[in-house]
Symmetry: C2
Subunit: 230 residues, 2 copies
Amino acid sequence: MHRTKVKVAQDVLDANDTIARANRADFDAAGVRVVNLMSAPGAGKTTLLERVLADGVVRDEAVRVGVLEGDVQGSLDAERLSALHVPVTQLNTAPGFGGECHLDANMVRAALPELALDEIELLVIENVGNLVCPAEFRVGEDARAMIASVTEGEDKPLKYPLMFRACELVVINKIDLLPHLELSLEDLLANLDRVNPHARHLLVSARTGEGVDAFADWLAEVARREAVPA
Amino acid sequence: MHRTKVKVAQDVLDANDTIARANRADFDAAGVRVVNLMSAPGAGKTTLLERVLADGVVRDEAVRVGVLEGDVQGSLDAERLSALHVPVTQLNTAPGFGGECHLDANMVRAALPELALDEIELLVIENVGNLVCPAEFRVGEDARAMIASVTEGEDKPLKYPLMFRACELVVINKIDLLPHLELSLEDLLANLDRVNPHARHLLVSARTGEGVDAFADWLAEVARREAVPA
């Protein structure tokens, strides 16, 4: 009985990975690189994207970007980004059981026909705000990045290690608030290093714009990467 | 096929509610009231509890409180609270698939034998930091409360309505940071009212202590409530 249960769980995992590979193949065929951008609710994903996207391009790099906006429900963030003339597709998870707390490969696949892949070079998938499950589901992305707000405290890498391990880039946002917090940035970085010594980190304030150029540069670098078979 | 799947999902929901009722009956038998405390990661659940719990009682009210600490992994928060001589039980969700993003009734049931119910009048269950799934699973609680940090933005009630609707109390935390944010508190409260006009809200700074007494009073009020059959 136990063995059967494990087998079922394995099948489910494989289904997601199979569909993620199919997504990746379609993205590759269209010459589009994909970033899966994750964070806790309110860490600043949309504000950061607003900062780096204007008229549909990553600033100064002329990389044409589209966004797939994942939310439990509503389209508030999609509306903010489409005001910047970025092609945005809304993907709501609410039709699922009570509102899924993450995107999975099959949800992204369902949105594929709506994505203007021939108009863009980079697709940023803004995941549902959550530090647990989004890290468990590949969706066909080339790179995974997360935003950690300094207001969330030093301990988050230790409490949500899978998320911090799953990402090659950790954007530490809201650094303009550091003078008003008791946070030790040194401890936060040490905890990140403990959990994922390979992660690169950027210190950013999406509000003031400080450090945002480095995130734009990273997006442009991902857009220029060679396709690697999934 | 579709019909079969729906039936299975319904069975799972029923199983959680069945176990939640059993938990509630056990809490009632022990004369213990239970609060399910939820929030996004880093909103300040543990800091707020540190403020109101000292030497195991809610301040000035002499209500003996215990804590069930839900985390994906680790016991950082439990260690912080046990330093205050509060009976704390750690419940980690990591043994599940990749680390469950919420507590459910069965996890809480598994922790029941570890809870010192005869030593307390109120149990605070600190859920996993997440604004989606914790709202979907009753665990046998008498009352549900959430913390929304002002750093998370005005739009969170609209983006995570189930969570804001599930709670009778919304603690708006980190108000000491308001002078340093562009947040409109008025808009946040209007959005909360739109989603859940019945919710009570408190304005609090767990860091400075402002407004924390009102949260302690609310906990004491819950502790004094008559048992209502689940």
